[in-house]
Amino acid sequence: MIRFDRVSKRYPPGVDALDGLSFELDDGGMLLVGGHSGAGKSTLLKLVAGVERATSGAVLVGGQNLGGLPRSALPYYRRRLGVVFQDQKLLFDRSAYDNVMLPLTISGFPVREAAARVRAALDKVGLGKREKALPIMLSGGEQQRLAIARAVVGRPDLLLADEPTAHLDAENAADVARILVEFNRVGVTLLVATYAQELFPGARRLLLDHGRIRP
């Protein structure tokens, strides 16, 4: 379960990205975060991913207050998440295959099983035949799908996706949304920041406006 309790985030120069935000998301649930550019969507996801820390308030994930997590415990917390970053954060000097392999290597996953998992993840996003390509050889949409493959390869309990369908045409965007929703169906908690809310019909929504919930 994710619970935000009056969470505020102020970035150093004095930008209030989130302002007293409270909400809950049950295990296995799905939540879409919307709002204008600069509304605080990415910041919300970064707080859950432990990339940023709240300035005030509590961010609880699985009952654990992330603000109180010691630095040395953070890596182990992150290994349980799958994150699609808005700027993708692919490694441009590694092949598609190696990019998807990276989280498995980091968590010390047995090498033999890992290869099969990586191939399965690449197949799922339609990049099965491009595993040797460097990211630079992929189109913008293909890079986006590669980032999604990397996020799901570790079969996380909690999946965070920041604009996962940006750079995708309608057909591919629908495919990606379907993949994410499928994960949610088998029990993965899903938190998506997106403008394309129509791709996730029936999901719960949270609309941000300058760091607050728009009622």
């Binding site: 991913a49 990339v51 630095r71 040395s72 890596p75 182990y76 917390y77 992150r78 290994r79 998440l81 994150v83 970053f85 954060k89 692919l90 490694l91 441009f92 000097d93 990276l102 989280p103 290597t105 980091i106 968590s107 010390g108 090498v111």
Partner: protein, 299 residues
């Protein structure tokens, strides 16, 4: 545990691949480190040669005691007895004046001169070796002997000892200075290289952290990188020194022969070689460690 071992292997392999990925660059770095290490190692070799030389020529610094030319045998006997009793004296060899004369006659060039002499111009003498061969102790001994009855002159060859000593001391100081400077240089070089590597791998480090990599996981390949740089540099230094030993042997031999010395330059022995490699690898590792401290923070 197995994953941990596996990652150590992976890290070493990764460090190796990073070195191999930029072969010219790596080679130049290794060369720079090798040169930095070759200098004190080479200096050590030369100093070892010099010390051996010193051991060959100045094993036993001597004090020569000349009796007064007019002193008689009784006086010489007295001194001889005193020397034999003296605790600081290791050995005293008596040189009778007759013996000296005979020897001198046998020597080249002086014969005519000596044969023309009316009387034996040489005094009795003792060649004394002492237990404590430090320059100061010998100086004190000479002062003491000078006061004994019938002794005309005491000649000390500690000047030569002192010279050599001073030379070797200077050599050691310079060598230490050099080793410290260049050991520091090695740390500086690996520091720079690893820092730059960290900068180039910034994206990878950032992404790895976001995906849950521990600090140890991130640092390991860089530490291996520094270790390998040091080790490789040490190996190159070893080869440079061995090469220099071979290359310098001829001119050194020529030089030594002019001075009637035997000065042999031996390449580094097994122990010295091992020390060189271990120090080099350790310093490389240390440079990497400092570098990571600085660029990735304390943790």
């Amino acid at each position: 545990m197995r994953a941990w071992l596996h990652h150590h292997l992976l890290s070493a392999a990764l460090a190796w691949r990073r070195l191999a990925a930029a072969p010219i660059n790596s080679l130049l770095s290794l060369l720079a480190i090798g040169i930095a290490l070759a200098l004190p190692a080479g200096g050590q070799m030369i100093l070892a040669g010099a010390r051996q030389l010193a051991a060959g020529t100045a094993t036993t610094p001597q004090i020569t005691v000349f009796m007064h030319i007019a002193s008689d045998q009784a006086a010489s006997g007295e001194i001889r007895a005193r020397l034999e009793k003296h605790g600081g004296v290791r050995q005293a060899r008596f040189l009778a004046r007759e013996e000296t004369l005979a020897r001198m006659k046998a020597g080249p060039g002086l014969r005519e001169v000596i044969e023309a002499l009316a009387a034996n111009p040489f005094p009795d003498a003792f060649v004394v070796t002492v237990r404590d061969e430090t320059p100061d102790a010998m100086e004190r001994m000479a002062v003491e002997l000078r006061k004994w009855p019938g002794v005309e002159h005491v000649q000390l060859d500690s000047a030569w000892v002192r010279r050599l000593d001073s030379l070797l001391r200077l050599g050691r100081t310079v060598l230490l200075l050099l080793a410290a400077l260049l050991g520091g240089g090695l740390v500086a070089i690996t520091f720079s290289i690893i820092r730059m590597q960290v900068l180039t791998q910034r994206a990878e480090i950032e992404v790895s952290r976001l995906l849950g990599a521990t600090e140890a996981f991130i640092r390991r390949p860089f530490l291996y990188h520094g270790f390998l740089l040091g080790l490789g540099g040490g190996a190159i230094a070893w080869m440079l020194v061995a090469g220099a030993a071979t290359w310098l042997r001829a001119p050194m031999a020529e030089l030594a022969s002019l001075y009637d010395l035997t000065l042999a330059l031996a390449p580094l022995g097994a122990a010295d070689s091992a020390l060189l490699l271990v120090c080099a690898a350790g310093l490389g590792w240390l440079g990497a460690l400092f570098s990571l401290r600085q660029s990735l923070g304390q943790a």
